[in-house]
Amino acid sequence: MIRRLTFIVVALALFTPLPAAAQATPPAPGAIEPPLRAGNKWIVVGGVWTTSLGDCTDCEEREYRHTGSLLSNIGWSINERTDVGAEVMFVASKANTDDRIRLTFLMASFQYRPWRTNGFFLKAGAGMAFVHNWILNVENDRPSFRSKAFALAIGTGWEWSLGRHFGAQVIATHHAAALGDLQTSARTVENVMGNLWSVGGTIVIR
């Protein structure tokens, strides 16, 4: 159900804005109009398609998994190029054993548009990830656990204006969740790391 919902959100975000954006920005196609002012709110909601990789020092094989995720930002613009705020990303998946995997990123987030006249942006964030199970394969030991992790994200994308307060983004991100060492029943699994690559679309409210 979540996957289907995510797909619909991504599809809407990706395809709906394009004709509207072309009409809404006559001076420079793709430009963010009107110019953003400091103090504006910055709200982003959308869906992304996520590929995740579980890794650790002694992992026997590294599995890539694919799933839908929800991505959201809330904050404000500190100047016409820069937004700061919080980011929440929720990733739901399943392990081979049918155990549920849940990953929630909660981070401080920073988005920057180098050019005022087009929608290209760079994004970065750091904070915490709350992990319920993760993809691990250490000597066939798949531990079930809950853990907090150190989280980091970088990303890039393009934003189109859909009017004074609305916009849409296509976005590609790389999130990392560093879980550190995990104690299983048999041993300590060292340096467990989650890497997640995502592409998708979001709606922006300013």
């Binding site: 890794d55 016409e80 920057y112 050019w115 970065a124 750091a126 915490m128 560093a178 060492d181």
Partner: protein
């Protein structure tokens, strides 16, 4: 070694003395602080908000004239900035290749492999990760500043340079800790070096005096200096950009000896020499500020048992006075490096500090401040259960198959996020403090390394007295406290205390 060399040269440049600029228009008089002189600054009400050169009230961008935000500003060239960040990566890559590092043998397939594998924690030396990477980040940052980008834009450029280096500059898997240290450390060091270079540079001189001031500034900020020599800005006679002229400047050089103790002995008779530099740029105790680093503090401690025992930059990002200016609230960014018997510690942090100044008379005043914040990523030397801080790490066999420059570990320090808090209390006579008390605490929650919560505390009390002119004498009592609470059940916490005393001479520039 580059950061140490650069710091040493910077110190030499600072001690060398710089000429002051003659006033041109209605200005506040040029102020000399010891051998350092601030160039004249257009007169403005003391209470006027200090804004970015491109941000008038309401954040409306000022028009650029000849591509410059002000006559003394560099031309705004966004594309050049990104290209130069890439050239800097090429320079470091080439340097590694010439040194024969296997990690420099990059190909498109290593790029693809790095992108497929994502982030990891690396195993490099403490100094490489906590000083070397921030210094490299400072190069990306100053490339942005040299091409007319503001603080926030240059910060994004630093992240870009760091990210591309991690994925494409080495064969190593991209390192999470490097990205953070290079980006955040690079921003802190970069803005500090950028502003320091503008203290050294005298844009109203000509001839040899000008050339030497530009060369001196290039030592502090090589990327900015090279850009100015290439563009010809190094010879233009103009006023300095307003936002790089500090509202105040104070510095003290402290030289002397220190003696340490440990859990077992009060004070060891064998001492170490040290040279400490304290710089206070701008006035962090007052003013509504939206110009990052218009006020910052720098402390550099050479010797004292390590080649570099402390490096700290704390820069104001936002400042807001309350209660008619009686209380000052600042949001600051901090870069920190410590190496002493008690701990080796490095951190990238943000903090909120609250301070107030009380004048007891026309000459005697008190400055009190307290702060607390978040440590985005901190590093502390590993302390296995039962071990004592300062013990040399055990000999580990090296991997004979590992290529040159490939770190195979083990790594003897741990990484994690955390919090920080502290306070200070200064009594000052004029601009010179004669009683200084400071306390700082850092908590780290280790996620990579020996799972533990570390609490590192430090207290220091200094008493100083003038001897003659700018020269004074002083002494300090310090106390380090290190506590390690292991996350493994049943393992006793490690608690260590290290007293330290200092005797020294001071030279104050104010």
């Amino acid at each position: 070694m580059e950061p140490l060399l650069s710091s040493t040269l910077l110190l030499s440049a600072l001690l060398g003395g710089f000429p002051s600029a003659p006033p041109q228009t209605p200005v506040t008089p040029a102020r000399c602080v010891g051998l350092l002189c601030l160039s004249a600054r257009p007169a403005e009400p003391r209470e006027a908000p200090i804004l970015s050169i491109r941000q008038a009230p309401g954040q409306v961008a000022a028009p650029l004239v000849d591509g410059r935000a002000c006559p003394g500003c560099p031309k705004r060239r966004l594309g050049h900035a990104f290209i130069q960040a890439t050239i800097i990566n090429g320079f470091y890559e080439l340097a590694n290749l010439i040194r024969g590092q296997d990690t420099a043998k990059i190909t498109p397939s290593t790029w693809w492999l790095n992108m497929k594998r994502g982030w990891e924690w690396d195993l490099d030396d403490f100094v490489v990760n906590q000083i070397g990477h921030p210094y490299q980040g400072n190069n990306y940052y100053t490339a942005g500043r040299a091409n007319g980008l503001n603080f926030w834009e240059s910060s994004a450029l630093t992240a870009f340079g760091s990210g591309t280096w991690e994925f494409f500059g080495e064969t190593n898997q991209a390192s999470l800790n490097d990205l953070i240290n290079t980006t955040l450390g690079g921003i802190a060091l970069g803005e500090m070096f950028y502003r320091t270079s503008w203290l050294i540079r005298n844009t109203q001189k000509t001839g040899k005096a000008r050339l030497w001031s530009e060369i001196g500034a290039t030592v502090a900020d090589p990327i900015g200096g090279i850009n100015r020599f290439i563009s010809g800005d190094s010879a233009r006679v103009v006023e300095k950009p307003r936002d790089v002229v500090p509202s105040a400047l104070g510095s003290t050089i402290v030289a002397g000896a220190l003696w340490r103790g440990s859990n077992h002995e009060t004070i060891n008779s064998a001492g170490f020499g040290f040279l400490e530099t304290e710089v206070l740029y701008g006035d962090p105790t007052t003013g509504r500020s939206r110009t990052p680093y218009d006020a910052f503090g720098l402390r550099l401690d050479i010797g004292g048992g390590s080649a570099l025992s402390e490096a700290r930059v704390r820069g104001r990002l936002i400042g807001q006075p309350y209660k008619g200016g009686a209380v000052q609230l600042n949001v600051a960014q901090a870069y920190q490096f410590n190496s002493n018997t008690a701990y080796r510690f490095g951190a990238q942090a943000f903090e909120v500090n609250l301070s107030f100044v009380k004048n007891f008379s026309s000459t005697v005043s008190m400055w009190t401040a307290g702060w607390g914040g978040v440590t985005v990523l901190g590093a502390v030397d590993s302390l296995p259960p039962g071990a004592t801080p300062g013990e040399p790490p055990p000999e580990e066999p090296t991997d004979p198959d590992a290529g040159q420059g490939v770190s195979t570990g083990p790594r003897f320090y741990d990484y994690g996020p955390g919090t920080n808090f502290g306070g200070l209390f200064f009594l000052r006579h004029g601009a010179r403090p004669f009683l200084l008390f400071s306390y700082e605490a850092h908590h780290l929650y280790i996620v990579d390394g020996i799972r533990a919560n570390h609490l590192l505390q430090r207290m220091r009390l200094d008493l100083r007295a003038p001897l003659k002119g700018r020269v004074g004498i002083g002494g300090a009592a310090e106390f380090f406290d290190r506590r390690t609470y292991y996350q493994t059940e049943g393992v006793a916490a490690g608690k260590f205390r290290f007293p330290q005393v200092r005797l020294y001479l001071t030279w104050s520039a104010s």
